[in-house]
């Protein structure tokens, strides 16, 4: 019988081939396999839910498409009364734990595997994203904490900005990873932007 099971990144085979460093204009890209994700759906009393979330995680519950984070746990507003919880180092059972702590106030569905989450950063990140999404990524409009649920290349994506580097994260359903990668490659090539592998992309190694 198997002793351990190894998670597989949706973009693993593509990221593996990237170089770890390149020139300044290159886009740094990594797949975040260290994040646990869940859809949090209010059961109606948003105020009580906000209080509970604030008490548990020290986070305000965003009522607009925004991402709030306490450095470890983040919530992204993705619809009326619906949030995507994105927790670092929370482990595969995060959703059931979150469901227990929000019991009665919110329904929670594990989406850790549903979304492939790409983190991209670098000077060209805005331009690359704007080629795909009809969203205004100008810093005066879309800054750290901004989030958008939209489409890129006919693929549903949720995008949020992490910092002013700028760094963005893109969540998409993992079955679309290959087609999304095709869009990413053709777009970067057309822009003359190179891709380099970001820090945490290496698959988890077990022995």
């Amino acid at each position: 019988m198997a002793e351990t099971i190894i998670p597989r990144g949706a973009f693993e085979q593509y990221l593996r081939d990237l170089k770890p460093s390149g020139n300044a204009n290159d886009l740094r890209i990594e797949e975040r396999l260290d994040l646990a994700m869940a859809t949090v759906m209010s059961r109606g009393d948003d105020r009580a839910l906000a209080a509970k979330v604030h008490g548990e995680f020290g986070l305000p519950l965003p009522s607009t498409p925004r991402r709030v984070s306490n450095g470890v746990n983040a919530l992204v507003g993705i619809g009326p009364g619906v949030w995507l919880a994105v927790f670092q180092e929370a482990g595969p059972l995060m959703a059931s734990e979150l469901a227990s702590s929000l019991a009665g106030l919110a329904s929670v569905a594990d989406q850790t595997s549903a979304y492939a989450l790409l983190r991209i950063s670098g000077a060209s990140a805005r331009e690359v994203l704007s080629r795909g999404a009809f969203i205004d990524f100008d810093p005066s409009v879309f800054g750290p904490g901004s989030a958008a649920v939209t489409t890129i290349s006919h693929i549903g994506v949720t995008i949020w900005q992490i910092d002013e580097t700028p760094t963005f994260e893109i969540a998409l359903f993992r079955s679309f990873a290959d087609s999304f990668w095709h869009w990413m490659m053709t777009t970067c090539k057309a822009l003359g932007v190179g891709l380099v592998r970001g820090g945490r992309s290496a698959p988890v190694q077990d022995d």
């Binding site: 019988m1 594990d110 006919h154 679309f176 999304f180």
Partner: protein, 987 residues
């Protein structure tokens, strides 16, 4: 060669070689194809559409109706390219069009002789009967005669890109008004996008000798471009055409990235499609000069005055040796002055107005140019190109003038095209004798010539104030600055729509060969609306969309009807403003990337194991796994299906839709959604459910499991996954908002595998040794959630095959690991992987309805599921499901079918007919929905929808297949072929 020794915006140090109609020619960097042809003295560049008359270059802009060429060759050949818009490059190859066998000798020009037959509406009059001739004779004939170049039939070797942009102020056009607007808006710190069709900024200032701030206007253009380029809030897109305005302040544009190169550099797109969202838009698209009407006005050598001016000034290419100007405008005189300043011989200026501008007339007269006032050109003379003119003076005297170029200026039409896209209708202005857009769409301002303000001073001031206002509207303000001073620029004009006594054809629409008499005929035949005129005569329907011809044609119509142009009005323009290649609209979405594809977690494993994939919607699913020895798909599928019945098989079923239903009212919600009851389902149990549409027909089916009191896990068919998610959201948000229910798709979260066959329990016990899945602890339709090696996992005891079977689910990122574990652990048990075909065989053997039966035309009763319809509750579709037509016992309903001769093959889609009787629709009893070769029955079997269904069991009928010439005697049987008592599934 007619190239001047100096001047112009060409680089004489960079000669470029090109080929036109096989002739090797030379131009310079900075030329268009048209200017290089002018410089080389090439006069005839194409043949007209209908009469195949020789045609020369008429304009110097994208409105060109005549100089249409096929650019490049082979896969990159592009017909109907306007030579006036093509930037010359080294090695350019272009061919003229519409001529056979050659441009100078065109047999089709015989059409000229038959022109009485080819008048307005000749399609409708000449090619009427017999009707059978339309497709076979007339249409091919017309298409060959009236062709417009040939598209390449090879795949497009270029790539196309897409991009989006947002700005506060979009400025379309970079002439004096556009530059001025962009400058003003950007100085107020608004985000500005300046889009220019040409490769150079400057618009009319590139080809007019004007002064701004006491210096040549070109200095101001360069300086302004420098300022704008340096500003971080400005982006400039040259070689880009805004082709349409759309709702919500969005605009479409095409950037020609590589069209000025012989071919795109590797990886660099040829063109890019821009979707631009602007808070405000300033339309500085200029104006298009109007041709004048006289006999033979299409002779090569007759061109627009603005074009002659542009060729002489910008391109240093004099279009002729003896140039005559024919004008009704002051700008015609300005053109004459610029031409003379460039060294051209302006032999005469004919002004149709009663009196010419005094000062200008005096100036040219001293230089030997003859001036005619109150005179008109009646006919152009010459065979293949212009040699002279017949001019009628005010006193009615006719005289001949020698000329090899006639530069005409009949007024200016503001280029309002994009402004009309959203429905704003141009109105006639008596002050400028042209249509203007008096009420542009919200957020749009027209400036300069586009607004009918033709002088340079007005353009600069218009742009400045519109730029400031647009910035202010988007929340930006700046200290007001004045517009720069500039040279005087007279803009007087007089409309002239008609000339009496022309001996030759008077062309209104050059590209479609519509003459003034065609318009007269159309009016006489009752086509009184400008829209009818357009369609009947095809005026303005050519690739130039009537930019030159439309107003002249409408004026003639108005004249025939005794109306004013204000009364007859004009037409609206639709996007695209200029032709757009389909390739750029498709972008990267071509070939296999036409649409995105979805891969399951076991995709790579399946590919490694030789799977043949099938498209199921966007999903790639393993269809079967051929062994090296198997050459026929049926061998593989039969082996896989048989192995499931005798041992164990694993199939990826992750593509089924999965929906988490949460909340205190989840049970009640499902009771209303399904025909059967789910609120009574115990936690840890699954139940098969059927949903109806509101009209009573079956919508979808699947199993739904209760994982907690307030948590159900619904599955749908693969095909309907999205539709059912929408249905669930619609029901909970719109129909029953009072229910406390939450729902979300979790299709992508779980990799789910069917493990089916008598050895399935043994396999799962090896893989999950800590789990008790004995029949007692975990009977049929049980479900459990547990943690497996640190990750959540689920096992459901469900069976689609009728065998002892389970479905195992883990988070998708562990799906690859799970399939490898299952196949590894099952090795000794003889496990096989099976694909969607074997899945289909197994379900047909069990009589389970699937996509072919859930066709949207079947009721639950049709499918043998009528007993599931609860009598104790309401649900979607209940009322209409009991309509008489839906409860008719003679409705086709689900049965099994077998060929009486067991060696015969059944075909899906075949009709079921009685044994004796004709093969007629009114004898039809139903049809075969699904067939399979059943290894269990060792014959072909099928499912079908047959009138009176179960009542016919044992009856013999025919399966009649006219498509494949099949006529097979069949026996109606129970749809459940294997294990009808359901012993195995509970074993």
């Amino acid at each position: 060669m007619s190239r001047s020794q100096s001047g112009g915006l060409i680089n004489r140090d960079k000669p470029l070689n090109f080929v036109f109609d096989g002739k090797k020619l030379r131009g310079y960097e900075g030329d268009t194809l048209a200017s290089a042809l002018v410089a080389n003295g090439i006069r005839v560049v194409g043949r007209s559409f209908k009469y195949h008359r020789p045609r020369g270059i008429l304009t110097a802009g994208s409105e060109e109706p005549n100089a249409l060429v096929t650019l490049r060759s082979g896969a990159r050949s592009e017909p109907n390219t306007r030579a006036t818009s093509v930037q010359l490059f080294e090695g350019l190859v272009a061919e003229s069009q519409n001529r056979w066998p050659s441009l100078s000798f065109d047999l089709m020009s015989l059409n000229n002789l038959f022109s009485p037959m080819l008048t307005a509406g000749f399609y409708y009059k000449t090619f009427m009967w017999p009707a059978s001739f339309w497709e076979k004779v007339y249409e091919p004939l017309i298409r060959r005669a009236a062709g417009l170049g040939k598209a390449s039939t090879e795949p497009d070797p270029d790539i196309y890109d897409k991009a989006h942009a947002f700005c506060d102020v979009l400025v379309v056009g970079s002439g004096p008004a556009g530059l001025s607007a962009a400058l003003a808006a950007s100085q107020a710190n608004a985000r500005v996008m300046l889009v220019e069709d040409d490769w150079l900024l400057g618009g009319r200032l590139l080809s007019e000798k004007q002064e701004i701030d006491g210096a040549p206007a070109s200095d101001w253009v360069r300086k302004t471009e420098g300022v704008l380029t340096a500003m971080p809030n400005v982006s400039i897109l040259a070689r880009t055409t805004v082709f349409g305005a759309y709702d919500g302040g969005s605009f479409g544009a095409v950037e020609r990235i590589s069209d000025h190169l012989a071919e795109s550099k590797p990886g660099v797109p040829r063109q890019r499609l821009w979707k631009i969202r602007a808070k405000r838009v300033v339309l500085a698209t200029g104006a298009i000069e109007r041709p004048l009407l006289f006999g033979g006005n299409d002779l090569p050598g007759v061109m627009m005055a603005s074009a002659a001016r542009a060729y002489a000034t910008r391109f240093a290419a004099l279009p002729g040796k003896e140039i005559v100007i024919y004008t009704t405008t002051d700008s015609g005189w300005a053109a004459a002055k610029d031409l003379a300043d460039c060294g051209a011989n302006v032999a005469a200026i004919i002004d149709a107005r009663a009196s010419a501008p005094r000062e200008a007339a005096h100036r040219v007269a001293t230089k030997g140019t003859r001036v005619f006032e109150n005179a008109v050109v009646v006919d152009a003379l010459g065979g293949r190109h212009l040699r002279g003119l017949k001019v009628r003076s005010a006193d009615g005297k006719m005289q001949n003038l020698a000329a090899d170029v006639l530069a005409m200026s009949g007024g200016w039409n503001p280029a309002v095209g994009i402004g009309c896209n959203l429905g704003s209708r141009p109105v006639w202005s008596d002050s400028i004798h042209a249509f203007v857009l008096a009420s542009p769409p919200t957020g749009m301002t027209l400036v300069g010539s586009a607004a009918g303000h033709f002088s340079l001073a007005e353009a600069l001031e218009d742009g400045r104030s519109a730029g400031m206002a647009a910035a202010a509207d988007s929340g930006f303000s700046a200290p007001p600055v004045g517009a720069p001073s500039c040279s005087e620029d007279a803009t007087g004009s007089m409309p002239l729509w008609h000339v009496e006594g022309a001996k030759q054809k008077v062309f209104v629409d050059f590209q479609h060969d519509v003459t003034d008499s065609d318009i007269g005929l159309a009016a006489q035949e009752g086509f009184r609306s400008v829209e009818h005129l357009k369609r009947y005569t095809t005026l303005g329907m050519a690739t130039d969309q009537g930019r030159l011809s439309q107003v002249n044609g409408q004026a003639l119509l108005a004249r025939h009807l005794g109306k004013t142009l204000a009364e007859t009005g004009t037409i609206l323009s639709r996007p695209p403003y200029l032709p757009v290649a389909i390739g750029v609209l498709a972008g990267h979405h071509r070939d296999e990337h036409f649409r995105p594809e979805r891969r399951t977690a076991s995709h790579d494993w399946a590919a490694e194991n030789g799977a043949v994939f099938v498209d199921t919607g966007l999903w790639k699913r393993a269809q079967w796994f051929p062994k090296p020895s198997e050459t026929d798909w049926l061998d593989s599928v039969t082996r896989e299906a048989a192995a499931v019945r005798t041992s164990v098989g694993v199939c990826d079923v992750s593509t089924l839709g999965k929906i988490d239903i949460h909340g205190p009212d989840a049970g009640i919600f499902l009771d209303r959604l399904y025909i059967n009851t789910f609120s009574t389902l115990a936690v840890g149990k699954a139940r098969y459910g059927v949903m109806l549409r509101e009209d009573g027909f079956v919508l979808d089916d699947g199993t739904t499991t209760r994982l907690a009191d307030d948590h159900y896990f619904m599955t749908t068919t693969t095909a309907n996954a999205v539709k059912i998610m929408q249905h669930v959201d619609y029901c909970r948000q719109v129909l029953w908002p009072e229910l406390n229910v939450q729902a979300v798709s979790v299709t992508e979260q779980w990799a789910q595998f069917a493990v089916a066959g008598p050895n399935s329990r043994a396999l799962l016990q090896k893989a999950f040794p800590n789990l008790d899945i004995s029949n007692e602890a975990f009977p049929y339709m049980s479900a459990t959630s547990f943690v497996w090696m640190g990750v959540p996992a689920r096992i459901f005891r469900l069976s689609f095959s009728g065998e002892l079977a389970y479905e195992v689910a883990v988070p998708a990122r562990y799906g690859d690991a799970l399939i490898r574990i299952l196949m590894g652990e099952g090795h000794d048990l003889g496990v096989i992987a099976y694909g969607t075909e074997a899945l289909g065989v197994l379900r047909i053997e069990k009589g389970h309805p699937a996509g072919n039966e859930l066709s949207g035309q079947t009721t639950a009763t049709d499918l043998g599921l009528g007993r599931m319809m609860s009598q104790k509750k309401d649900y979607v579709g209940r009322v209409l499901a009991f309509r008489p037509a839906l409860t008719d016992p003679q409705r086709p309903s689900l049965v099994g079918l077998r060929p009486v001769d067991r060696s015969k093959r059944l075909r899906a889609g075949a009709h079921v007919l009685p044994l004796p009787g004709e093969n007629r629709a009114d004898n039809d009893l139903g049809y075969v929905t699904s067939v399979a070769f059943s290894p269990a029955m060792n014959s072909w079997i099928g499912l079908g929808l047959v009138s009176g269904g179960p009542g016919r069991i044992g009856e013999r009928l025919r399966s009649y297949d006219p498509v494949r010439n099949g006529d097979t005697e069949i026996e109606i049987c129970s749809p459940v072929f294997v294990d009808p008592e359901g012993v195995r599934v509970r074993g």
